[in-house]
Symmetry: C2
């Protein structure tokens, strides 16, 4: 496989937008293309992520329409990927693999979603379709319920008083909101306290309102190229040095909700491909759809022993100058979660961190970063490792 780099990146502000999915994606895509010092006509393929365009806007088959709005050539195939929350990460992984293989030299990849405009109650019910419909959604299970079960299991498995775990989860929210307050593109840019979280409305016990990420509108895109193609185009190409993707199926085949087997398998593959280990990673964007999810991810990715990451949250080890800086963008929790765009936005943040462009939220001197995106209730995990 050839060496693969990210040339340029683009993303819209996340939040509530008046724009359509196509308009948002074009904004992100043209920014990425222009930052790459190439033109739309140079793109050889589009790897496009979207989850619920048919429910949001009555739009299926969105990829060729995004392709047309961007002005890409007919010879550049536009392909839609959908892997629930991991949609864009999976699209980017396939783009990286095919550029690595020499099938394409330069491509655009990313995703878009207009989830906020649906309103949270409807979006929660609609997006519950990413659980297994026959056995999970029909029983009334939605994502807050899944992660609430994981939190209870975590507390009971490791003998942690639930009140302690709730304090640790609250610290995850406080940290990610603090990070988000430093990110002008975040959905929420307001600092909160642990009281804000612990006094919040109960959503699914023990998860309260501020334990849950929002649904957001937004899009993000990146240009991926072979190392040769990149030469002379940009000053700081960022290398994709490892990728992993794995599938764990529905809850009924998963033995332990505190151990996300798909993540353990996917990140092992990415680490091994990159020749790196968890202690090499300086900055991470990981899937904190709920505060407990960040704790599970810190363990699954190998940063902490199983059963110990909640203490890291309490001790503040995962913010700037900590052991590993987690979700400097604000994460899904504060930057926001436009489902099909989320993975691409995580990549955008890591790229800007490795280029040293993140201003007040810059992780000083970061050279190696990791992206972690979870799709559905642990059905899909996709990891990417980037380095400058």
């Amino acid at each position: 496989m050839r060496e693969v780099v990210i040339l340029g990146v683009g993303m819209t502000k996340f939040g509530i937008s008046q724009k359509s999915n196509l308009e948002m994606f074009v904004e992100a895509g043209l920014t990425a293309i222009s930052q790459s010092n190439v033109e739309p006509k140079d793109m050889e393929a589009l790897f496009f992520g979207n989850c619920l365009g048919d429910f949001e806007e009555g739009q299926l088959h969105m990829a060729p329409f995004a392709h047309a709005e961007l002005g890409l050539p007919i010879s550049a195939p536009a392909t839609r990927f959908e892997s629930a929350c991991a949609t864009a990460t999976v699209a980017i992984r396939h783009a990286a693999l095919l550029v690595g293989a020499g099938v394409y030299d330069v491509v655009l990849a990313g995703g878009t979603e207009r989830a906020a405009r649906m309103g949270t109650p409807l979006a929660t019910r609609t997006f519950a379709m990413a659980c297994q419909a026959q056995h999970e959604s029909l029983a009334g299970l939605t994502f807050p319920g899944v992660f609430a079960m994981a939190a209870h299991l975590y507390a009971s498995k490791y003998n942690i008083p639930l009140s302690n775990l709730k304090k640790a989860m609250a610290e995850v929210a406080v940290k990610n909101h603090k990070h988000g307050s430093l990110n002008p593109k975040a959905h929420f840019q307001k600092v909160i306290t642990s009281e804000t979280v612990l006094n919040g409305m109960m959503v699914a016990d023990p998860l309260q309102l501020f334990d849950c990420c929002p649904f957001s509108d937004g899009a993000a895109a990146i240009v991926i190229a072979s190392k040769d193609k990149a030469r002379g185009l940009v000053k700081k190409p960022i290398y994709i040095v490892g990728t992993g993707q794995a599938s764990a199926g529905p809850l009924y085949v998963q033995q332990d909700l505190t151990r996300v087997k798909a993540r353990e398998t996917a990140c092992k593959k990415a680490y091994s491909q990159a020749g790196l280990k968890p202690t090499d990673i300086e900055v991470v964007e990981l899937h904190d759809c709920f505060t407990i999810a960040e704790i599970l991810a810190l363990e699954g990715l190998g940063f902490y022993e199983f059963g110990q990451a909640y203490e890291a949250a309490l001790k503040g080890e995962t913010t700037f100058k900590g052991k590993v800086v987690v979700n400097p963008s604000g994460g899904l929790k504060a930057k926001g979660h436009p489902i099909g765009a989320t993975g691409a936005a995580q990549v955008v943040e890591i790229v800007e961190q490795l280029r040293g462009e993140c201003g007040p939220r810059q992780v000083e001197g970061a050279k190696i970063g990791l992206v972690d995106t979870l799709g559905g209730d642990f059905g899909t995990v996709c990891n990417l490792i980037l380095r400058s």
Copy 2:
């Protein structure tokens, strides 16, 4: 790129099924795996096609659930593709590219759809979401309308009396129903006459009921492997020698509905990769969602000059012992059209033709075949060339 082969194939009967998308896909997938003399645990990835599972069954993110039902290993990523009617062909193309690249040695690819159970009127309105929502679907355009416009334009551009074109289109339907009558897996296995077509209910002038394919339930899957991996596993591996995929965007960027630019670009790429030309192709499964679509495809694929394929239909040149045998399976028209499974079923038919297993509908001695699938109103075309 390494040489890539198809080991085994499987498909359900097409028609109206009581089974779920997952049940149908598992039937097709396990058949393909077992025919390949491998086991589910040997699969290294799943390339999964489905269009409307969220509307059909409230199921998004279906790929990892299909993966679990099939018993694939966690390390084998399951990825959903959606490219309207070309969904499964696009999934298969990506599988072939990544096996060719050496990323995987053996994978499963295919698709499933439960479109018939929706009922045709609702399915037609729902699937109209694969047109461009903002400019086309919202104006009331559905697919019969798109292809009706193409038929009128074809007649007017080439100065063909509409009644002559309608006779030619009727012959396409008669031929494909005749082929379907020889296929025990076809949705419709009944011979019809040209009067059946011309006396049919008007759907969208000039398209009558029998000019239109049905929505069907069904699934199809294939196992793709590197040539090395295939050695010793099956007697007649079928080679994937060329692939092409292109994107033409919505109708407002297309200048001439009788010339499907995405097809002309995609098949040129596939022919060139295979080192073959249209006259080398002995058997074709092409996208006859409407009878006029078969005529357009025959020209776009290079079998006939533009404006001349309607005469070929009248003269019966596209059936057994003709110039090129088109849709021996019955095509979308008679074999049926489970949207996200269609491309995989086309591949299944070509594979069985090249292996000489098609009994009464066998194209004698066929060694080279082509698959053509159109997604949406000309937004996506994907072509595959296979040889024995």
